[in-house]
């Protein structure tokens, strides 16, 4: 991944900016939400594929800084939500799209279905992801040969 950062640095102008934007595994909350209330029903289970990937990405950015490729100027976490009409649609999505990265335990499935069943008619099921954004500025000199 440092190779990609080196290549991106090459195509950026002097003083150019790199934005690193990605989800970070953090046992994201599962909620049943309506206009009237938000009810937390459990948390997403982070699988090693995701946590290891996050760690590798973080290490790549740190290595790029150590090599003088970029300097991190600003970073922040924010919420990015996925929501569905029903618990079964959420479960289907998690199974099909996130199967290698995240899972739902039985208790969270049960609690979400139970909460949704008695919730207001406008209720939806929501996973609130933690999103990471960082602004990094291209540095003029590096410890490596320029390509």
């Amino acid at each position: 991944m440092v190779h990609a950062l080196t290549e991106i640095r090459r195509v950026l102008v002097s003083d150019g900016i790199l934005i690193d934007l990605r989800p970070l595994a953090d046992h994201w909350p599962v909620e049943v939400v309506s206009l009237r209330e938000v009810k937390r029903t459990g948390r997403v289970q982070d699988l090693p594929e995701q946590t290891n990937g996050d760690a590798a990405s973080n290490e790549s950015i740190q290595e790029a800084e150590r090599r003088g490729l970029f300097k991190r100027e600003q970073e922040e976490l924010f919420s990015f939500t996925y929501s569905w009409d029903t618990p079964s649609e959420m479960e289907e999505f998690v199974k099909e799209e996130w199967q290698d990265f995240f899972d739902l335990d039985d208790e969270t499935r049960r609690a979400t279905r139970a909460a949704w069943a008695v919730a207001d008619a406008d209720s939806r099921v929501r996973v609130r992801m933690s999103m990471w954004i960082a602004r990094c500025r291209k540095q003029a000199s590096t410890t490596e040969n320029e390509t």
Binding site: I8, L12, G16, I19, L21, S83, D85, M131
Partner: protein, 98 residues
């Protein structure tokens, strides 16, 4: 399926909070189907989106909104071998892809 992503538009808000994209030459690495691209490209000078997934790029080409058709360019490329001259872009966005 009734999936809704980022109903609060936080991703767009934070992107604009972190960087001024107006009239900039932007490279988006991992543009996928263009979900994020379409949210900012209209204010850039031009935007190039690259991705390794040809199917996603095919969807992006079909879905590209008319107001950015002339300023968004999509290409199949690997982030470790970008087919561009050096110092071509003001801003690079790594979108869910590091």
């Amino acid at each position: 399926m009734s999936l809704q992503r980022d109903a609060e538009y936080n991703e767009r808000k934070f992107l604009h909070k972190f960087v001024d994209l107006k009239d900039k030459r932007v490279l988006e690495v991992g543009c996928g189907e263009g979900r994020l691209t379409w949210q900012y490209a209209n204010i850039t000078r031009w935007t190039v989106g690259v991705d390794l997934d040809r199917d996603s790029l095919r969807v992006a080409r079909v879905d590209c909104p008319s107001d950015v058709k002339d300023i968004v360019h999509l290409a199949h490329a690997d982030s470790t071998h970008l087919p561009f001259a050096k110092e071509k872009f003001d801003i690079a966005i790594l979108a869910w892809s590091l």
